[in-house]
């Protein structure tokens, strides 16, 4: 729903907004995989993880990518909220009875407009809990580095923190389960030859996110640090 315009096309056209959502969404899916790979280093112990964390915050390429990620995040959320508002305006009078049957979203009852804002809140809280959380320093191989491992272990020793984290990962898994294949559809990459594969990849991706991220705090909560 762009404003009345005589322009033949617009960057505010519904399809373009969706394609920007798809592009930024896919980029953040890529980030999730890198983030997960980094998190798995937690299982290798404090030395390896702190070393990795030190390299990440001191590598100019990573810092550049971090700013790009912030830009992508802001685009995805601003366009997302705009879409939510536009979609609400498209039907201001609700149905008395609603029965949903759709194959597109396996979990249509939890829509992107619900999981999206939940994830946004979680991401901000998550940054303040850990990245900007308690700072400890430790000397590792003659180098003073931040003991991020300790911050993580301390934070996930609380059942409440773990419960919130797991709930957020459920929202994330639902979001990417619909978002990943959806991005292909939005760019027009749809063909009987590979549609099943794309949908399957979406399910697998969501499971990897849920299990991969979800198991780490449980591992610490059970006292395996």
């Amino acid at each position: 729903m762009s404003e009345a315009t005589s322009e033949l096309y617009s960057w505010r056209a519904s399809i373009i907004k969706k394609q920007l959502m798809a592009l930024t969404g896919l980029m953040m899916c890529g980030f999730l995989l890198v983030h997960l790979a980094g998190n798995l280093l937690l299982l290798k112990g404090s030395d390896v993880f702190n070393q990795f964390a030190y390299l990440m915050v001191n590598n100019p390429i990573i810092i550049g990518l971090e700013w790009l990620l912030l830009l992508v995040f802001l685009m995805h959320t601003t366009i997302g909220f705009r879409l939510i508002l536009e979609n609400q305006r498209a039907r201001t009078k609700a149905y008395a009875v609603r029965s949903t049957v759709a194959r597109g979203s396996k979990f249509a009852f939890i829509s992107m407009s619900v999981t999206g804002p939940l994830m946004m809140v979680f991401i901000i809280v998550h940054l303040f809990d850990l990245k900007f959380g308690s700072e400890y320093l430790v000397v590792q191989s003659d180098l003073e580095v931040r003991d991020l491992y300790r911050t993580v272990v301390e934070f996930y020793s609380s059942e409440v923190n773990v419960a919130i984290y797991i709930a957020a990962m459920c929202a994330t898994a639902l979001h990417v389960q619909h978002g990943f294949w959806s991005a292909f559809q939005t760019f027009g990459l749809s063909h009987a030859r590979y549609n099943r594969l794309v949908e399957l990849s979406s399910d697998v991706f969501a499971l990897v996110i849920l299990i991969g991220f979800g198991m780490i705090p449980i591992y610490f909560l059970l006292g395996y640090s």
Binding site: T5, L8, N87, A90, R91, Y95, A96, F187, G188
Partner: protein
């Protein structure tokens, strides 16, 4: 059979509507829902009351005039059929059947169950056509069409423009309708000259009409009486991007 029909009554666009219950008895199972509405209306007319306004025309599932959201589903239960093809045997005896108009701000209620779907006409006028040369009737087989394209174009051309896709979509998006038209014409050689321009102008008109944005839930596909696939939406998405970035169309 015995039913309670809970029907949306609204005198005109500006007034607020409400549900009115109609209890009906001795209804034959082979009666269609629209015939039941006819019989309710006959009763209302005999009482000099205002009959329930609803859209209908061919009553054989091909004109796209009938609408209605029945028990929360556009065109009622059953896949691949329109409201006029819905028979009372599809409901349980004694059931309360809720009948509402299509809900979308781009489809304002005109009266009772009738909504104004002229936004679809404006979208068609914006680009849903092909240019043909005048003069003598051309030889039918002059322009060859690949079998696959003919089949796919025919699948899209099956769209009767009823608007169930908009009614079912949680965002009231018209993407399936517009995609069916764009896909149908762009798959055929006759539709090539306007291919890029068509997708741009039809989407522009769709956006300006106040429909929502597609979120790929495929609710449209599930209720479409002609079972049109969201694969056509993918084709339109692709064509829009190409038309915007690569075609010479500017203004």
């Amino acid at each position: 059979m015995r039913f309670t029909l809970r029907i949306w009554r609204q005198a005109q666009q500006e007034t607020t509507g409400r549900f009115v219950d109609f209890a009906v008895e001795d209804i034959p199972a082979e009666m269609s829902l629209l015939e039941l509405l006819d019989s309710i209306n006959r009763g209302l007319i005999l009482e000099s009351a205002d009959p329930v306004a609803f859209d209908h025309d061919c009553r054989e599932g091909i004109c796209g005039m009938c609408s209605l959201v029945i028990n929360g589903r556009p065109h009622g239960p059953g896949a691949g059929t329109t409201t006029c093809q819905l028979y009372m045997r599809s409901f349980a005896d004694g059931e309360t059947i809720v009948v509402e108009p299509f809900r979308a701000d781009a489809f304002p209620v005109v009266k009772d169950l009738i909504v104004d779907r002229s936004a679809f006409d404006r979208i068609i006028a914006a680009g849903g056509y092909v240019t043909v040369t005048t003069g003598q009737t051309p030889e039918a087989n002059d322009i060859l069409v690949a079998k696959e394209n003919a089949e796919e174009a025919m699948d899209a051309a099956a769209c009767i423009g009823c608007g169930a896709c908009v009614a079912a979509c949680k965002n009231a998006s018209a993407m399936l309708f517009v995609a069916a038209k764009v896909s149908h014409l762009s798959l055929l050689p006759q539709g090539q000259p306007e291919k890029s321009r068509r997708v741009l102008t039809m989407v522009r008109e769709m956006d300006q009409s106040g429909f929502g944005n597609c979120s790929n839930e495929a609710e449209c596909e599930a209720v479409c009486p002609k079972e049109i696939s969201i694969g056509h939406i993918a084709r339109m998405n692709r064509q829009y991007l190409f038309a915007m970035l690569l075609s010479g169309e500017r203004s």
